[in-house]
Symmetry: C3
Subunit: 132 residues, 3 copies
């Protein structure tokens, strides 16, 4: 198991972490199995998404922010970031990425993203290897 | 692999199951790896979410119920619980939680929740260990 | 690790792949662990959902298409399939399914689905085994 830190700069943003995850897999000398990219925060998430055109993650965030606004009548959580928690449970606290022949198995357009929903903050990402 | 039963009391509610999952990991003497917390039902789900302030899960449920109502024009499923199935696919049928040094790796505010979307019912949660 | 190809016939549809995943697990002679069913595409996803009544997946798709429409003011991605990418991140790029005594562990009504959100296309599904 290993971890790394990232700094986010906005309340909501997707930060690509493919390079850090790939380095963790190579350091661990995992040959065949999977790595679990885990977010230990409840107002952030991990997703696999297109990394070729940055407009894709822009549009994903736009939809999330339009449909899960910060203030909703009936929200009780006093911190005022219930929207961030909802986005976290919908996108998910982890992504499982396959490993074969010592490297990540990703589609041509796929990158791994840390999804910040309540930044800017300093955040931790944990990567665990399973396999051999 | 192990499993346990829980009873839910409302049509929609989040039941914290962190203690049961931790006990399963300790019983299995898993040292390093991950456990997959799996929901074998299609109208329920598993998520990792804040367990410090109960208002957080209240607000997540509020949003889900507002945006995925029970009756939608065009729904065909005769059982009338299509909303429960939709919530299940969005939140997800399992959560993968890391294990290190024989214990769950969770962020300070994280708990594991069984998400009931079509209760009250008696439900099963399955926990599978991977690693060593 | 193994993979198989499927052909989708509509822009959005759920294709059941339980039989192919079960065959992959049996071919790999995995006894105890889990298989990760992974989608290497960013406009598709994998979910576990009811396979008894086809109206269930109809209704899940209906909700997704109503709430995540193709054209939204503010979308920038020039390919015009931002909705497909959003659905992919919400449903998720993989599903982890448990394996016990050499077979998939699924609830009575559960099937594994490839979720096409930008078809029709020829697609790949990757299945990786973890365990023993």
């Amino acid at each position: 198991m290993t971890s790394f830190r990232i700094k986010t700069r906005n309340r909501a943003e997707f930060v690509e972490i493919t390079a850090q995850v790939r380095a963790a897999v190579k350091d661990a000398k995992l040959t065949d199995g999977a790595c679990i990219v885990y977010c230990p925060h409840t107002t952030a998430a991990i997703t696999v998404q297109e990394n070729a055109d940055p407009d894709v993650v822009h549009d994903v965030l736009l939809w999330l922010n339009q449909h899960i606004p910060k203030d909703v009548s009936g929200f009780r959580h006093a911190e005022g970031n219930s929207d961030s928690h909802i986005k976290s449970s919908l996108v998910g606290s982890s992504a499982t990425v396959l490993v074969n022949e010592g490297d990540l198995v990703l589609g041509t357009w796929q990158g791994i993203y840390f999804c910040e929903f309540d930044g800017p903050r300093e955040r931790t990402v944990i990567v665990q290897m399973v396999g051999r």
